[in-house]
Symmetry: C2
Subunit: 258 residues, 2 copies
Amino acid sequence: MNFAIDRTNTAQAVPLHLEPSLAPRKFETTCSNCNLRELCLPQGLCDEDLQRVEQIVYARRRMKRGEALFNAGDDFNAIYAVRSGFFKTSVIDNEGREQVTGFSMGGELLGMDGIGSGRYNGTTSALEDSEVCVMPFSLIEDMSREVSALQRNLHAVLSREVVRDHGVMMLLGSMRAEERLAAFLLNLSKRFIRRGYSRTDFHLRMTREEIGSYLGLKLETVSRLFSKFQEDGLIEVQQKHVRILDSEALERLLGPKS
Amino acid sequence: MNFAIDRTNTAQAVPLHLEPSLAPRKFETTCSNCNLRELCLPQGLCDEDLQRVEQIVYARRRMKRGEALFNAGDDFNAIYAVRSGFFKTSVIDNEGREQVTGFSMGGELLGMDGIGSGRYNGTTSALEDSEVCVMPFSLIEDMSREVSALQRNLHAVLSREVVRDHGVMMLLGSMRAEERLAAFLLNLSKRFIRRGYSRTDFHLRMTREEIGSYLGLKLETVSRLFSKFQEDGLIEVQQKHVRILDSEALERLLGPKS
DNA sequence: CGTTGCGTTGAATAAGGTCAAATAGAGTGG
DNA sequence: CCACTCTATTTGACCTTATTCAACGCAACG
């Protein structure tokens, strides 16, 4: 296993997929005045550190719905922070089966699966028109040697990704279908709240099939469960729009085996 | 979410669970002459860096079978490298269900799930008498600011943990029971090979129930599959001893859906 | 040599998957 | 703006897989 990452070029590096027009420049929105700051890599940094860290954002990239931010196997250069929009990440096995490993929204980081091997392990694509901050990883490494608060945050972010994944394993390995969907909805709700959206009303950006893949269920099962939750008065669903009517009951579903 | 890690004490830190007898000292076996070096944190380091990095190993800890290295919720101080033995890590949900998230053997690192929150997220315990190297995380952070090869390795290790977890999600979310067990056996085999053990003959240190938890199956299902694989001439099982007779056939099981 | 934990096996059951058909929307080009 | 297509979703009927419940065997250990 070889994880030589090309770090001969750092600040000068121009990832191939970036248009020249996206070369380094001052952005209207910097980390300092980004409203996602406290959910993102610069979380908790003091002003001075923040000034330095925002230099890491080498570019912005706008994505259209359906577009891939990176594909499994692509050379790893950068990690990305979601500035707006919604993403899914998935891995494909030898037989072509897709497993969605996560959905990402504002402030969350993408591409960390590429650090270890120098190639992205999964494919990440936009589920709606989106924008990301491009952060060349070599810059992050350089700067985190100097700004220890950044170093700490980077480690924390990586570690929390591991913790998140263990939660998904629990979901996939130990929960029944109903519980999985309830956990999924509550998790989305919680993340929307932190971003200032409604805790009860939201628009799912992913299909039933993508939800199913993430939850280890077939799309028909997901659809049936949505209908069942609706019949039971827990939620209201119409296509991609969901309203949570009784979140306590959803929480209870996660509870005792019933 | 708060991930303040106490780093007021670094080299002086004496984690509470360490006996005074385990205070820093020269070890018979250092990283430099550890045969697991290339599977572990110091992978690929030059001699000079290695000298410095082996200072990180603050102590060794011997573990008896069944003993917990750390429990979910314990304060996070250190990550651990397995020097010998075998471990399982699991998380427990609100309703007391256990999900095994991984099994670890020589050279693999434990406890990285604690970095983000300052508390270990899962419980790791020894499945046989074992020994670990104790590496206080604050030392690792300090040194990885100075030794960039260490920094790179730390990031790589964390990232590979994420990749590994995504593989498990694929297994749990998309594979059928037979495929899961086949994948499990082949994965163990591969890891044993790298450590110089037989690729075909090994002793499972975990129970059927623990295998089942890891694979998202019930222990009876695991037992039946072992029997079936044996009937089909793929393996020979007797209790915890397994011999792989036809690894190509196991590989094929992972293949097309049959 | 009984106890205890772990593993195996069988029969019945339930949960979710598969297959199929109908419907509803969203997007597209005329 | 409307008709048309294509895709996503819903729902039903049936089937398969893995679980549940239960009994029994085995091996280690005091």
